[in-house]
Symmetry: D2
Subunit: 312 residues, 4 copies
């Protein structure tokens, strides 16, 4: 359970408040507003606020004086046109704000996307909670051999057990020492009144990178889709991909027409290199082509054949 | 009148629609939502959408699970603290979207602020309207002599009349030729069916820089305040300053506590240089200080004395 | 001739100075440093400074303590890998600074790329030169009918002559009035000593959008390539495309291995949509596919067939 | 010693190479190019490359065809003018690239500055070194009581010894387990051939936040100065401030005139709030003002009196 009863009550209180607005409103997103969507063992994604909807993209593209929309089919045709031709500015006219709880090592990857606004929980100011990530056994991947930057098979048996035990015991040990150095606990109590306690900004350095942090993260739709195209991708590390997938579901609720265009023109397609394109042309002309004669490396050849559904 | 009856009707239609939302809502801003605020002779600023309110700043600063606010006085104390100590990230958690109609030469200054999202009316795709800016007589400033980058006295008499006549007649002449080259008019009619008409993307180059363009412009509160601190400043050109002032009024409606802190810690104060600070210290110590002995240039000295209310 | 003899002398003086440096240096780029490359009738692109070379990409990707390079083939393999997998950060480690002279309507498109540093010639402070763009007859495109945002056939005969005459005479007229309002000329002389002259920041609004402006423009290699992929594209307006093409030639001199990877994986390839990819798979499987049965619009079908070299 | 003999040799090799260039060159910066400047116990800052010098600021501000400089006094006057009036774009025309080795918790603060280019050492791809930060005894600050976000007195005696012992033993323990989980060591050897080893991207989560990471970090001068104004400030955490101070020394070598203007108009001055300014005016008018009657909070009053050298 990633949230406490007190937090649950705060969320419920906020969900219970309603006001009238003239702004573009999306009932399907209102339905889940503020609700934590569980990710990993203690993490979550919550939508805190949003601006705009599918029509807001159309309205901006037409620089309209009113709602800007015409028939639904024309609007969705325009959205597809914009996505296809990389006219990104109308998609920047929608904005969304998330509250995210995530392990620090995931936060370190995530923050590399610079086009968002971020407000992180301060471990200089506050004491971090005793919450750390331990992978589920089925995600305990071994180091991949070919792709030095990925995972291979799942560890099993004694090796898996030993890894999980180390992760848990180290996380617990460093937290106990964190509190000891602080001379204080999460709940604000003091351990030893005769001591001063190390500054929080220093003590935090004793925590491991699987400890959870939290932030408010706000981004426009165009940059969110760019983030999702990189992080909902199979090459992304599993622990960030699950956050991206949760947010992709949110995008579907929020701007379904944009999401459909995104899946058609970005996520679901394939990018051919110049040489890859010439291979496809030769194959279509009925010419036999081998990897050796293709001009592609073995890896590129294999990936091209896979994307064409021709894996041998 | 910057808008047509058709545009007025579109705006009224949009204003008449209301929905229920769980999001942070600001009645004082809802009251003017979509309404054009007139600026210059044909320009306007309209608020199209917004995200957040004063409390959203507090909520993000506290990385809260609920509304995040405490007593009003505590919240406004926190906002002042954040503004004073340049903790800018919580202010980035509010966002606003404007529809702006403005002369092209103003747009060229405005766009230099890179941290906004912009979607401009396309003169490659559409025909621009026959609307251009002519300064009111009281803003027809002569070239300043000391400050090469500003205005001095207002032009008068025959010189003023001549300038206004030239601006008007040139703007009208280039527009007539614009339509002639396009072989088409604003209303979509064709002038001479035997001609093809020049591409819009080329014909537009015949228009003068006082023609109006329009855009949707979206920005977070922190960057908006930065924009306003530069453009609502007396050193800014009058024609962009009036837009900044109109937006500052919007900010007051939207986030009054933030606006108050902004006026206290940014707009209304003074920045002293290292040397200027030492002058103030010496003056406070009762020491007589002259410009010559101050280490400040004449201009810096004059500006310091002015900001200290000691203009001789 | 886009530059004056005085400017030529300044450039020659700067080109004649040499110093020793330990920094990465590219002789092929040094050879053209500071030299204007003519674009359009009065415009140019000049390389003013640069940071890094092909090896700097490799060095950053390896977070190296030294030069970071291994064998040339390994380095270029790594560069290809980075480009293919959209690892963009190492390409951001190279930077280039241009001095560009360009028509204002081109500058207005160009500036929409926000990830660059720009310092523009100030028409608030200085008087603009009497230089404006007039298209060569072969670029005088008519408005395209299908693509509302482009050019069709070239205008001919009397219509072309009339357009060119209007562009020239209007540009000349507005400039004469610009000087008259300023009560001053390019060379600094005063026209009528009994007049004050309108402020420069106002008078400039009387110029047409084909007047030339200038700026220093500095950008990292990753963002430059993104700019070039959009602006060296056939869909870009001719008048900005020629600048992009000139800069692409500069990139070839500067970082040849990066440029080759860019042409292989970005410029020269094709992006297939999800539906487009399924069409290719069906064709490769020997299945006959028609536009009607493809799920693609007519336009998408035509573009796919063209990119596959199967234009009917 | 933050670097190994192999790294030292690589650096020396790179330092020994020289080439001729027409670019702006700064001998005082060339002198230390590539040299590590030690920071903290195992960290460093190295200048890898730079673009521009003091004159490059002037050249861009004048949009010059040549070097753009006039007399040294005029140039430095222009630089002061630009700094004073917040004309930031000419300062963006200089760029610098650093290689930085720093503890992860420092990197997490640093990366919040979004206007830089960053390429970090990948712990998905490589094994991190066994290097972690332990504060020197004189920097072992206790938690501050008034300022919840800072340090108070230095810990002493047994409490200090205990903290240092915990930091060291935990860092060593987690590293030993990191290697055990990886089934591999820094030097590439395998621990137990019968095991697979956990993926690097997972094992790294067991390291504490005081482990060192490294990155290439590239930024323009304007944004660097902004970074330094926040991070070379007494309110910044000591562990990032020392990096900022090392970089400020680099800036002094690189662009001495800019650095002087920065110290005069940014670092060395004071910003008065609207109320603070009115207090100063009243004091200068000889009026007695107390905190209670000032309109300032106690803390603001104390800070104002301190900056005016009137601390009671």
């Amino acid at each position: 359970m990633p949230i406490t009863p007190e937090q649950r009550a705060e969320i419920d209180r906020q969900r219970s408040q309603e006001a009238a607005t003239r702004r573009a409103t999306v009932p399907a997103l209102e339905a889940i507003l503020y609700e934590p969507i569980t990710v990993l063992d203690h993490g979550f994604v919550r939508v805190i606020d949003y601006m705009g909807d599918d029509s807001a993209v159309v309205q901006a593209a037409r620089v309209s004086y009113g709602r800007g929309t015409k028939k639904v089919s024309e609007d969705s045709g325009l959205i597809k046109y914009l996505m296809r031709h990389r006219h990104s500015t109308p998609f920047e006219m929608c904005e969304i704000k998330f509250h995210v709880k995530l392990p620090i090592f995931v936060a370190r990857q995530w923050i590399r996307h610079r086009t968002a606004n971020v407000n992180e929980y301060s471990a200089r100011y506050s004491i971090l909670d005793r919450e750390f990530y331990v992978p589920a056994p089925e995600h305990l991947g071994a180091q991949a051999v070919v792709n030095r930057q990925g995972r291979g098979d799942v560890l099993e048996g004694e090796e898996a057990a030993s890894v999980l035990a180390l992760l848990r015991s180290d996380a617990e040990a460093v937290y106990a020492h964190y509190e000891e150095m602080l001379n204080g606990r999460e709940d604000g109590t003091v351990i030893d009144p005769s001591r001063q306690g190390l500054a929080r900004e220093l003590a935090r350095m004793n925590l491991t990178l699987n400890y959870y942090t939290q932030w408010y993260w706000k981004i426009d739709l165009h940059n969110l889709l760019h983030f999702l195209s990189l992080r909902a991708d199979p090459h992304a590390q599993y622990e960030i991909r699950v956050y991206a997938e949760a947010m992709l579901d949110v995008v579907k609720r929020w701007v379904p027409a944009v999401c459909e265009a995104f899946e058609e023109y970005r996520l679901g397609g394939a990018h051919l290199s110049r040489t890859g394109l010439s291979v496809v042309k030769r194959l279509l002309a009925g010419e036999p082509v081998t990897q050796e004669a293709s001009g592609l490396s073995k890896r590129e050849w294999r990936e091209l054949m896979e994307s064409l559904g021709r894996a041998e």
